[in-house]
């Protein structure tokens, strides 16, 4: 048994302890009464769903209980998971994944606050598309944080894709300019742009992001552009401010939810996707190169109450670190 399988076993066991606390609300044979709904609300709030969204969910569940004459918790849990999945899917068509078009340049601009996991996610994304026979190019436009360029370069080497880079401290706009030119002339399928982490209330840094996006528009007008917000699943209600304010400076097309291998539930995305119509496109479930998954709303809803088939427990192959 490899090191990582062992590690995962450890992870699973401890996580189950946390989850069992959460899942008791839907325990078998339980009576559906006021106490039940209160506990449910509590569980939802503890998953970072947020007060208002938790109330909304509980209310819609009460309504369904009455309308459909539901008597057992199992059916009710299914109903709740439906409701959550519905909120998560929103108006978006069934295919929620990252939109990659054939025979044209695709640019994925990755943005987010500090420490959300942008660079790691890009490394995994590069591997994901590279192994699907796409020609991938990375742009190291985080020229601010110490050694951010080196970090992306290491990922580029691991995956075996090129990284467009300049010196630390140089203008990120210039890096993006170079990268767009290189992507066009090399006939790259997918250009993934890493950006510096920035807190959404820093006006100057947000202006910089706007500028980067303008350069992409100008230098690669025919490209299919995805702008993804990377969100740490441990984030609380501040995620809403993140999505709103980033969305004000660049047209976000989706969210990547990272670090879902911990005990954080990332419940804030339920209200978020619902309110801002911003789908979750992928999830990060570890630091390994393969730990990037497509997002399945039903699985996510299920994991909030952790019945066992957790999002990342299916076929978690050993990672070549």
């Amino acid at each position: 048994m490899g090191f990582f399988s062992k590690l995962k076993q450890g992870l699973t066991k401890t996580r189950d302890e946390f989850n069992s606390k959460m899942s008791s609300v839907f325990s078998f044979g339980r009576k559906i009464d006021e106490g039940f709904y209160e506990e449910l609300e509590e569980t939802l709030i503890q998953s970072d769903v947020g007060f208002e969204t938790a109330i909304d969910l509980v209310e819609s569940l009460r309504a369904r209980e009455k309308a459909e004459k539901i008597k057992d918790t199992e059916t009710l849990q299914q109903a709740l998971e439906d409701e959550i999945a519905k909120m998560l899917t929103g108006d978006v068509a069934e295919n929620q994944g990252i939109n990659i078009k054939d025979n044209c340049l695709n640019i994925i601009l990755v943005v987010g606050v500090n420490g959300a996991g942008k660079t790691t996610t890009i490394g995994k994304m590069a591997n994901y598309y590279n192994s699907r026979k796409k020609k991938v190019l990375l742009a190291a436009a985080d020229t601010f944080r110490a050694a951010a360029i080196e970090q992306l370069t290491v990922w580029g080497e691991r995956v075996g894709v090129d990284v467009i880079r300049q010196n630390s401290g140089s203008d990120p706009g210039a890096v993006v300019f170079d990268a767009c030119q290189a992507a066009v002339s090399r006939k790259t399928d997918i250009l993934i742009v890493d950006t510096a982490g920035r807190l959404q209330n820093k006006a100057n840094l947000m202006e910089e992001l706007k500028k980067i996006n303008k350069i992409i528009d100008r230098e690669a007008p025919d490209a299919n552009v995805e702008i993804l917000l990377v969100l740490d699943s441990g984030t609380g209600q501040n995620a809403i401010s993140q999505a709103k304010l980033f969305g004000e400076v660049v047209p976000l097309t989706g969210i990547i939810l990272t670090k879902l291998d911990g005990t954080a539930k990332g419940g804030v995305v339920i209200g978020l996707t619902h309110e801002l119509n911003l789908p979750v496109k992928m999830i990060g479930v570890g630091e390994g190169i393969n730990d990037l998954r497509e997002f399945v709303p039903a699985d996510f809803a299920c994991a909030l109450f952790a019945k066992g088939n957790d999002v990342d427990e299916d076929e978690h192959e050993d990672d070549e670190y």
């Binding site: 450890g10 992870l11 420490g115 790691t120 944080r145 050694a147 100057n204 740490d232 609380g236 911990g262």
Partner: protein, 456 residues
């Protein structure tokens, strides 16, 4: 934007309803408590912590203490304030000093909370206090994490001990300790890789490092934007490693920062430092009383004053005051002062600390650094003579200055006018004395401190 901004707004709104009343009924208190509960939950304070907190406040609020007091609304504010301070730790905690150097400090936490940056910032604080810190690069997992620490060390001129990413963190820590002992470093700060609190293998690694080097201080780094899970993380790290304190990072964002309350409440360990920005000097000690005051919208005048004092050159300030008194203030002094202001940091951040909702009123006023730069360009386009004696600036000089600074004549005019107004204002202020600044301003709720020369 103000830390805990939205929570402060919320509680203020709630208590506005209470303040108007003569006496409090239990129903009033219940209404207020519902708002407090909601506000705290929306601020990401842990559900359990909120429950306990509200119960405690309510118990005190419906007691006779409130009903007999003249202004019950104020009384509730006072209770919430006191309980918040209590919850966040009542005194400011300092970092350990070992009687036998080096003092070993180990930083731990989840991925992406800001450990490496915090290690460098704390080392910078220690260095400024005349200490000789050594940094140990113990994150062998994340690509380029070692390089990151090395770059930061170089920027700050603080030595970094690294053995690459093929040596175990336990050995790196042990050899860094030897290195520190040999080289007379009185602090050793160990950076570690981010890890999940439920990752048993990696938690074991931390226990091993702890056993090997016996740190005097283990600090858990917590992201201020963290949600409900913060309580699980803090609880587990504390159980496994018995931490000594917390470092709260990214507090310069617009997060309400409830994670701070949760982590403190569940571990009982003090918050020792607060990360307030990406710059290497953006790390501050935690002041629970000030933070509680900030939550309740009483401003954070003390922090503001300290910030001003720490960055202002005292001699320069004195000289400037003298000049003011004699009305000799010139554009050269003005440039100097702009420089000082810039050192104090983000304008918005400063405004947010103002008491009595001034910061709130000015919330949407953007102080554009570009404006500052334009003003600077105008002043720098003046001759030395003009700067010393602006009254000689006639229209041809104005045109030259405008050209030189790439601005319009009306910009120059506006600045000259503002400068003159400011000079008058400063004269008035200097009569009452800028020296008041250093004194406690917290009690003077609603009165602005005599902040020198804010030209906008």
């Amino acid at each position: 934007m103000a830390v805990f901004g939205n929570l402060a707004d919320r509680l203020q709104e709630t208590f506005k309803k209470l303040t108007g009343k003569g006496k409090l009924s239990e129903a009033d208190v219940n209404n207020a408590m519902r708002e407090v509960r909601l506000a705290l939950l929306e601020a990401d304070v842990s559900y359990k912590v909120v429950k306990d907190f509200v119960a405690k406040v309510k118990e005190r609020a419906v007691g006779s203490e409130v009903l007999e007091s003249l202004s019950p609304g104020q009384q509730v504010v006072k209770i919430v304030n006191e309980e918040l301070i209590e919850l966040m730790g009542s005194t400011q905690a300092k970092i350990a000093v070992s009687s036998k150097p080096p003092t070993v400090v180990m930083m731990v936490g989840l991925q992406g909370t800001g450990k490496t940056t915090s290690v460098a910032k704390i080392a910078n604080i220690l260095k400024k206090q005349g200490r000789r810190p050594l940094l140990a690069a113990g994150d062998i997992y994340r690509p380029a994490a070692i390089k990151q620490l090395e770059v930061l060390g170089e920027q700050l001129d603080i030595p970094v001990f690294a053995l690459g990413d093929k040596v175990s963190p336990v050995e790196i820590a042990a050899r860094a300790l030897e290195h520190a002992q040999k080289n007379g470093n009185d602090y050793l700060l160990i950076d570690t890789a981010g890890r999940l609190h439920i990752d048993e293998t990696l938690m074991q690694e931390l226990r091993d490092v702890k056993a090997k080097v016996e740190p005097h201080e283990i600090l858990l780094v917590v992201d201020a934007m963290a949600g409900q899970d913060a309580i699980n993380v803090a609880e587990t790290f504390n159980k496994e490693l018995s931490i000594d304190g917390l470092v709260l990072t990214k507090m310069d964002g617009d997060t309400r920062g409830g994670a701070a309350l949760s982590a403190k409440a569940v571990t009982g360990k003090p918050i020792k430092f607060v990360g307030m920005g990406e710059k290497m000097d953006a790390m501050e000690p935690f002041h629970p009383d000030r933070m509680a005051g900030r939550i309740l919208g009483m401003g954070d005048v003390l922090s503001l004053i300290e910030k001003a004092q720490a960055n202002m050159d005292v001699a320069k300030a004195k000289a400037m005051e003298d000049k003011l008194r004699k009305a000799e203030w010139t554009f050269d002094d003005f440039l100097d002062q702009m420089d000082q202001m810039r050192k104090m940091g983000d304008m918005k951040e400063l405004l947010a600390m103002m008491p009595g909702g001034i910061g709130k009123q000015l919330k949407d006023v953007q102080v554009d650094p570009k404006d500052m730069a334009r003003i600077e360009a105008i002043v720098k386009s003046m001759t030395a003579e003009e700067r010393g004696n602006p009254s000689i600036i006639n229209s041809s000089r104005k045109q030259r200055i405008a050209k030189g600074s790439g601005t319009q004549v009306q910009h120059v005019n506006r600045l000259l006018k503002q400068f003159e107004q400011m000079k008058q204002l400063m004269k008035k202020f200097s009569a009452s004395g800028m020296t008041n600044m250093g004194k406690k301003g917290k009690k003077g709720r609603g009165s602005m401190p005599n902040f020198p020369g804010f030209p906008f």
